[in-house]
Amino acid sequence: MGDELHFKSAGELSDLLSSGSVSSVEIVQSLVERVGSVDDRVKAFNSFDAEDALAQAQASDDRRAKGESLGELDGIPVGLKDNLAVKDQPLTCSSKILESFVSPYDGTCIQKLKANGAVLWGRLNMDEFAMGSSTENSGTHTTSNPWDLERIPGGSSGGSAAAVGACETPISLGSDTGGSIRQPASHCGVVGLKPTYGRVSRYGLAAFASSLDQIGPIARNIDDAALLLNAISGYDPHDSTSYNIDVPDFRKAAADDSDRKWTIGLPKEYLEESSDSAAIKPVLDAIEFYKSQGFEFKDISLPHTEYAVATYYIIATAEASSNLARYDGIRYTKRADDFDGKDSIDVYHQSRALGFGEEVKRRVILGTYVLSSGYYDAYYLKAQKCRTLIRSDFENAFESVDAIMTPTSPTPATLKGAHAEDPLAMYLSDIYTIPANLAGIPGLSIPCGYVDGLPVGLQILGKPFKEDEILRVGRVFEAAHGYKDEHPEL
């Protein structure tokens, strides 16, 4: 592969910046060119402001020239999923209802990136309000998989994963509610990490399902993911659910290659499910590799796995139905153009009917239903009990293993339109990723091979707040394989 700057990882760029052999402006220019040459096909971006990015890069170069660099992320472009609030930038959630909204404030993650000197780089496409696994539910357009433009990039952070996979940005931020970082990362052949719930502040992340949402990094290698995670982690007084716990240096922890005895769990419920899965071969090969490295494997049981998808879709839609109520056409969201009603109820009906897409409407209605009087106990309350059982499945398993390995997704990227008529099939494709969100534990997806030329991801689940351990485990595989340096032909 070429030496062009856009192929380089964030870590490499950081080294080049600190040695003075390249400027942030040059990096941004090369990415602007890259986006210009490939994004008409990949379509990862909803919008990007090259002028603004160049100005940020110039500011970074000026700081560096004065010896005031803000650290290893200073001058490095970071792509942003279009559900993160950046002051004076659009925040659309890929929804028509927010198409003209500009955020008047920075979310906590964004403040942290700014404090680290990162160049905030574009707004990346997603399924509308993060509801979906393909970007086909975006209100703007569908993003393509850089490995096969006829296929989906996965979702909901499809734009964030495709942009990293297509080398339109070295690293990006996504959000993961039921697999929305890990699944697109596996489809696009990149690294995606969903941190422990509470590790990263949600302040400034437009909520889909508050008790499940978590912001996390997408990168082409583990070191870059750790670099970005270092910047965004930590307790935030603006988020009551963020957790006040020490943040280790993930970059250093991931690079730790000292001897350690690892025990990895293989959940039989997942493997039974995936025995005929198209994505299983590279995953089994990866497990064999780990065995050869002295990792001990243990069969474990997560007995409530079969309830995970149903539990998830009740809790997530219930929370979403309430979280999305604020998009009503009254204050900042788009009011129906030809509004002809007589009162506020008409404003709601018409604006929401026009502003929300099919999948969002489906989930809002589902969520409204499960919270309704008379159904609450049968659905929402029962789902919360199931959630507790699923969480204790993991607690029990982690008493005897350090991490758990599974496929990230049952299949490699599917063709666009494959699930158009069958939302349930799309819901079921999240089966391996959803339990980590319900349990609040961290999950990492790393590229582990190809099936028919399409990347496949290995999922590594860890104990709460042990992102450092799963990054370290992942790196053992990454270091012995060349996937991180393989880029799709575009």
Binding site: A85, R202, T241, R326, R331, S373
Partner: protein, 481 residues
């Protein structure tokens, strides 16, 4: 048939805090439209609520003052409904685990006269919970505008049991809540500013019946008097309907204070399903022993306790206490003086509730910035008791103390108000008055005791008000008999 009314009140009280309940935005009244907002208050995408502990301090204080039980845990729920004054289209409230449960509010009904203490009762509470207030809609001819300044102000809802039976009880209930909250510093309860708002549930039933009748929810009760009048009107209306053989249908009515009548708002209650569920953005709150204890220690002596103690300890008449006690700073000021010489308490109480209040109101001053101290009051009472000045002159001395800040002795000295004559002179003036006024003298002698007052007035005039009326009275009687 005889009917009785059953009334329950839902009282919303804003808690006085620096910032809002789930946002760092300033809380307040009298700002320009939408000045007190931030991403949380506007419900912007990505904004998250964070609990303001001061608001919890406030409600715990209220709960302890009303003898509620404070469970170890409370939690936050979302109440989902669409309305333009609600930024998120859900309200954060407490559904099944409120922070205060049970409790009671002591009330006092009007006595037979203003000088007599009325009957005291305890009205049972169901619960008090905390929630965010919403914005304010302003309707114009063509459109409506919404001001979110009020949104996310901490708001507690005090829910009574259906434990009241008249407009007077409801009036007394609100008065007691208001005074208690002001005493505790929890809220100013200014109904004009919307700091206290009340809705009433009213039903009537035949006396002796235990089941409740169909209730009417009465809204738009914008003052404590409005609550009383609205409820009284509504009770009469319901009884009239029942006597006509009609039945009452559950509905929401509004009080029209201008026309002095209740009006139907919504015939059939909208079948609201608020889809309550625990707010995933907020954690449950543990209220531990230390927290409860700290708040308990901050609760002052409550109004009715203070009133009973003043009457007992200082032998104050009810009338004085009923002016003193509703005003916490005034009663504390009184007590500072009274404590130094409890025997003078009644006289001090009189000066405080009459002269001091009058001067403050005329000068438009507050107690805190006026020149009168407890020492001033004591010096004045002492001068009167010693007979240095008359009560009449004391009133002028008070005005002068209030103006200049001098003690009574200094005013008396400076203005020469001390009597500059002896008892013999008084006798001379008395004789003169008798000689100059044969008519009252004759009247007095023929048995009209009051006629003496005319002579007394003459003598006081001659002494330029400095003579002691008691001794003048005595001298006159001696001379006339």
């Amino acid at each position: 048939m005889e009917y009785e009314a059953v009334i329950g009140l839902e009282v919303h009280v804003q808690i006085k805090t620096e910032s809002k309940i789930f946002s760092g935005s300033r809380a307040g009244y009298g700002y320009g439209p939408n000045e007190l907002v931030d991403p949380v208050v506007l419900g912007l995408p990505g904004a998250l609520p964070v609990m303001n502990k001061a608001a919890l301090d406030g409600i715990i204080k209220a709960g302890l003052a009303f003898d509620c039980s404070i469970p170890d845990w409370c939690k936050w729920d979302r109440k989902n409904y669409f309305y333009p004054d609600s930024p998120n289209n859900y309200q954060i409230t407490q559904y099944d685990q409120p922070i205060c449960e049970g409790g009671e509010v002591e009330i006092e009904l009007s006595g037979d006269s203003r000088a007599e203490m009325g009957e005291h009762k305890k009205i049972k509470l169901a619960r008090i919970h905390l929630e965010n207030d919403v914005g304010k809609l302003n309707h114009f001819a063509e459109d409506s505008l919404v001001d979110y300044n009020r949104a996310f102000t901490p708001l507690m809802e005090i829910v009574s049991e259906p434990d009241m039976h008249s407009g007077d009880e409801a009036f007394a209930f609100l008065t007691s809540i208001r005074q208690t909250m002001i005493y505790c510093g929890v809220s100013d309860c200014d109904m004009e500013k919307g700091q206290m708002r009340a809705d009433a549930n009213i039903s009537v039933r035949p006396v002796g019946e235990t089941a409740l009748g169909s209730k009417i929810e009465l809204k738009n009760l914008n003052s404590i008097t409005g609550v009383k009048n609205g409820i009284e009107y509504e009770i009469k209306r319901q009884i009239r309907e029942l006597k006509k053989g009609n039945s009452i249908t559950q509905a929401t009515w509004r009080w029209n204070a201008d026309l002095g009548r209740t009006e139907l708002m919504r015939e059939k209650e909208d079948a609201h399903d608020y889809r309550y569920f625990p707010d995933p953005d907020l954690l449950p709150v543990k209220i531990d022993y230390e927290w409860r204890n700290r708040i308990q220690s901050e609760i002052p002596e409550l109004p009715f306790e203070k009133q009973r103690r003043f009457m007992e300890e200082y032998d104050l008449p009810y009338t004085i206490t009923s002016v003193l006690v509703p005003n916490r700073t005034l009663s504390e000021f009184f007590e500072q003086a009274a404590k130094k010489d409890p025997a003078k308490a009644k006289a001090i109480g009189n000066y405080v509730t009459n002269d001091l209040l009058r001067e403050l109101s005329e000068a438009g001053q507050s107690l805190a910035d006026c020149k009168i101290s407890p020492e001033h009051l004591l010096s004045l009472v002492e001068a009167v008791e010693k007979g240095t000045i008359t009560k009449q002159i004391a009133k002028d001395v008070f005005v002068e103390m209030f103006r200049s800040g001098e003690l009574a002795g200094e005013v008396i000295e400076r203005k020469g108000l001390k009597p500059d004559f002896d008892d013999d002179q008084v006798k001379v003036w008395c004789q003169e008055a008798i000689d100059e006024n044969p008519k009252p003298v004759e009247d007095f002698r023929s048995g009209n005791g009051k006629a003496l007052n005319a002579l007394l007035g003459q003598v006081m005039k001659k002494s330029r008000g400095k003579a002691n009326p008691q001794s003048v009275n005595q001298v006159l009687r001696e001379l006339l008999n």
